[in-house]
């Protein structure tokens, strides 16, 4: 699952994440992070058999976990299905469907934002 993890200033100096990874043996991938001594948030992908226990642990330790369904959003009114973004996606999360429409697979998306900056009609935006 992908989720935003929100950190309060009181817990930024605790090694919660490394403990969580060690205890629950999860795969943990940081997609984006903005954390400083005043707190912050990070967008992560967590997977493994003990995923749910791990999330419960993080919440007990004071991290607010906000699961997200979408990393980027495509405005179908603005999108003209030109496909300029397709070859720029580093994880092949954007493809051209059988009807030649352009679709983004949010499961694979890592939120790098390359498609956002390359879209001629500014149809793609990063979810915050």
């Amino acid at each position: 699952m992908k989720a935003w993890l929100k950190f309060l200033p009181t817990i930024v100096n605790k090694a919660i994440m490394s403990d969580a990874i060690k205890i629950y043996d999860i795969d943990f991938n940081i997609l984006r992070a903005h954390i400083n001594p005043r707190g912050g948030k990070m967008l992560v992908e967590i997977s493994g058999p003990q995923e749910n226990e791990c999330i419960q642990y993080m919440e007990e330790q004071g991290i607010e976990v906000i699961p997200i369904m979408r990393v980027v959003q495509k405005d179908s009114e603005k999108c003209v299905d030109c496909g300029a973004c397709v070859s720029l996606c580093p994880v092949k999360a954007i493809c051209i469907q059988d009807d030649w429409g352009v679709e983004i697979d949010n499961q694979n998306c890592i939120g790098c934002g390359f498609c956002v900056n390359s879209c001629p009609t500014k149809a793609i935006s990063l979810m915050e």
Binding site: V80, C82, G83, S87, C95, W100, S118, P120
Partner: protein, 518 residues
């Protein structure tokens, strides 16, 4: 053999057989061209791509008191108004004059906003005459309020086009979209099998005056477009590079924003996505055969846009079937591809045009004259004031460091010669890296002693046959102050620095101002 009059009679009777160009490909493959020519009356084509050479003539109507507009802005985008008093031509690629908006909004976006029925701010200045005394007008317009809005696109519907790739180490932002470094992706722009001029490659039916689909409304072909070319190499009848073009016109007041969209190619600028479709009357077997062309039979060339010259090197040939699979092999490596025109909307154009004809709403036209099909060659623009080339300004003997050299010796070279950069070469004089006084200081601070450990290996270089203007842009883009000049064998010939270029500009200004520098 059929005539356009006979086909029109069938359209009026509601029994014309109309298919789209991609459908025609499979019909001819199954039944043969002869049978298809008997059964099919019209093939509709379509394209929906970024067509920079587009724009619109607008007539705003006269104010009271009247004005003769000389500088005209629509939502901050300049429209050329050096024609009469209240006429202007709004070009699609003109960016906003507001530096904060810049390339994100331009003429193309104004055109889309007008078609959407939005209010657009009009500001115009004038010098004032006895008959047009007003010197400034600030108002707003809508498409309904103005007298005419005629889209006139000098160059649309390119017959085939180059496919773009980038061999350099940096990302390039081009009219062919974002090109990733080191052959990271490929972009192409033709709709292939649906593309209008690919389905009538010798202009047997398409000509001046042909009625077409433009932006969701009826439009017309005015003539060949600018840069129309007829002498390029052909394969399966179709040119393998950008060739024929069309100048189109249509009434913006009847257009549909689904088929006209303002867009911005990142860090390149505004452009207009135009939906255009041309009906091809199937007059005979020859015309039927041409409209049956498949993506696989349309050959095109992958061009290296990393070379910023008029003539760019060809990396390899491909075809639209391969491009549309989404990946292509370059030197044994799979490279993802991106279409820049929307095949989905190209198909929508062809289907909508087909429906118009089937309903009897759209009759075909005999061209007033054929498009030129011979002797059109695109001429280059020669620059009469010669460009200053890199080899023209290198003067000082080049000082170099050798990769095995000790830091102390290199530091001494920099100080003795009062310079900041040293190219690092091997024993054959080939470029291995570059070292700056900062690198030396940094290396000393970190206790390094060998040049190998602290030089920059990825060096931005200049070649002797490049113009100084290109180097100035490279210095600016990479935020560096100097680069080594190398020959084809990668042997260092000299250094060119920002100071060299400043000095050169200073000298040129002196020449132009009779010895006085400004």
């Amino acid at each position: 053999m059929k005539t356009i009059q006979e086909i029109n009679q069938k359209i009026k009777n509601g029994d014309a057989v109309v298919v789209t160009a991609d459908e025609m490909t499979s019909i001819v493959a199954q039944n043969g061209a002869q049978k298809a020519a008997e059964e099919i009356d019209v093939v509709t084509t379509g394209t929906f791509g970024a067509m920079c050479s587009s724009g619109a003539f607008l007539n705003f109507g006269h104010s009271d008191p009247p004005i003769k507009m000389t500088k005209t802005f629509l939502n901050g985008v300049e429209a050329y108004s050096g024609l009469a008093s209240v006429d202007a031509y709004l070009g699609a690629t003109q960016p906003s004059q507001n530096p904060e908006i810049g390339l994100h909004y331009g003429g193309a976006h104004v055109i889309e906003d007008l078609i959407r029925g939005k209010e657009v701010e009009l500001i115009a200045d004038a010098y004032g005459t006895d008959c047009y005394p007003l010197k400034r007008v600030e108002t707003s317009i809508t498409l309904d309020k103005i007298n005419q809005a005629t889209m006139v696109n000098p160059r649309n519907c390119y017959q085939n086009y180059a496919v773009a790739i980038n061999s350099t180490d940096e990302t390039l932002y081009t009219y062919m979209g974002t090109l990733l470094p080191k052959f990271g992706n490929v972009t192409y722009s033709s709709a292939g099998t649906l593309s209008p001029l690919i389905n009538d490659p010798y202009f047997n039916t398409i000509g001046m005056g042909t009625k077409i689909f433009l932006g969701g409304a009826e439009g017309y072909i005015i003539s060949e477009g600018t840069q129309h070319a007829t002498e390029n190499e052909r394969r399966n009848g179709v040119p393998v590079s950008a060739s024929g073009t069309l100048m189109l016109q249509g009434d913006m007041k009847k257009m549909n924003p689904e088929y006209i969209r303002g867009a911005t190619m990142p860090k390149y600028g505004p452009t207009l996505y135009v939906g255009a479709g041309i009906p091809i009357p199937i007059l005979n077997e020859e015309v039927a055969t041409r409209t049956a062309i498949s993506d696989e039979e349309i050959i095109c060339k992958i061009i290296d846009y990393g070379v910023p010259r008029r003539s760019r090197p060809v990396i390899r040939e491909t075809n639209y079937k391969e491009l549309k699979t989404g990946k292509i092999e370059i030197d044994g490596i799979e490279v993802p591809t991106s279409p820049l025109s929307s095949y989905k909307r190209s198909k929508m154009v062809a289907v909508e045009l087909k429906e118009w004809i089937e309903k009897g709403d759209f009759l075909l036209t005999n061209p007033v004259r054929p498009l030129s099909s011979k002797g059109n060659i695109v001429k280059p623009l020669e620059i009469s004031k010669p460009l200053v080339m890199v080899k023209d300004i290198e003067s000082k003997p080049v000082i170099m460091a050798y990769s095995g050299e000790k830091i102390n010796d290199v530091a001494k070279k920099l100080v003795d010669n009062n310079i900041n950069h040293l190219p690092v070469v091997d024993n054959d004089g080939k470029l291995k890296g570059i070292v700056t006084s900062w690198d030396i200081a940094d290396g000393v601070a970190k206790g390094k002693s060998k040049l190998d450990e602290l030089m920059t290996r990825k060096v931005i270089i200049a070649r002797e046959d490049e113009s100084v203007d290109i180097i100035a842009r490279r210095i600016d883009k990479n935020n560096i102050s100097g680069l080594p000049i190398v020959d084809k064998e990668n042997i260092v010939k000299g250094m060119i620095t920002a100071e060299d270029i400043s000095r050169l500009i200073g000298e040129n200004l002196k020449d132009e101002n009779g010895g006085e520098s400004i």
